[in-house]
Subunit: 107 residues, 4 copies
């Protein structure tokens, strides 16, 4: 690392903000996938509507929390690096982050 001028991996394959928590994110998605399968089964077994709705709210909230975590990591790493380096893409990165936030707020 000391001999390179620019860290080659900074934003490469291992560069995304969420990389340090990757295993935790994968486990959360695994759980969400299982919850979606559980809702499928509830419908198949004619479960009472309200119980299905409760489960859907839980999955929606879990997905939102994953999104908020990813977004925070993205601001902390990817956007911060672009700004600090005076990267020309910094402005575009903030614009796409704002667009993603709008989609989350409106969905």
């Amino acid at each position: 690392m000391t001999t390179t001028t620019t860290p080659p991996m900074r934003q490469g394959p291992a560069g995304h903000g969420y990389i340090n928590d990757k295993d935790r994110y994968l486990a959360r998605l695994k759980r969400i996938e299982g919850q979606a399968r559980g809702i499928h089964r509830m419908i198949d077994e004619d479960t009472y509507c309200i119980d299905i709705l409760t489960q859907i709210s839980a999955v929606t909230a879990a997905l939102e929390n994953v999104a908020l975590g990813l977004l925070d990591d993205h601001l902390k790493h990817c956007v911060t690096a672009a700004i600090r380096d005076g990267d020309l893409s910094a402005e575009a990165k903030i614009k796409e982050a704002s667009d993603a936030i709008a989609r989350l707020v409106k969905s």
Copy 2:
């Protein structure tokens, strides 16, 4: 299954509200489960954060639409039947529907 004497009223006079569209709901949940698996894969393959967020918003919206459909069916069938029959549970059914709506709005 053929020899059991499952009580005919188990699901109310006409079954759950979503019973007529059951296959369509099952197909939608199958697709949502696949989308959740797709997000898992995106994280595993170090996909760019913003693209993952876009996909999460899509799944959240799909889940919300399933919930709104189930709720509409529930009001049209289960709640309507309870009120029409002067069922003592009608008030409780409206209360639990309102609670489910609040969870959806706040999630």
Copy 3:
């Protein structure tokens, strides 16, 4: 009232679900209007963005709670009455309630 064939006041001035809590709803809206005025003042006085956002979230949540209360009252009174009376409009009333719920969930 005893000589009329259809109760003239059923959905008139005293007929909406929220009528019993009208004063409480009016007070809540008064407060929300004051909060909106407060946000206007915060912007005018160059308040720190994040503090304005906190206040906007509070007003949004207050409005949502009013909406959820009105909706619950509407289901309990207006929709229930239409169904119980075998009113032809019952189905349309459920449809418009479901549409209103969808707007709330998506906003």
Copy 4:
């Protein structure tokens, strides 16, 4: 204004992010305040519930759009400046932005 000794940096080098659009934001809040007053009047005049709910959804959406605009400005100016200047507060600023985003998504 000319005789006060207000610290010139009170709002950061370029003031708050929304400073350039201040008049537009003030006009939007004025309109939202008027809409809140309109909802108060609708309740006072016993307007049909569903019409009130439609109006509440409109105000909620208007507030969310103001929040998303302020947040975008905040990221573009305040957060960007803190990161570019190597300001020690940059990390804290991202944390408070993420917290504000979470409140918006969950409200």
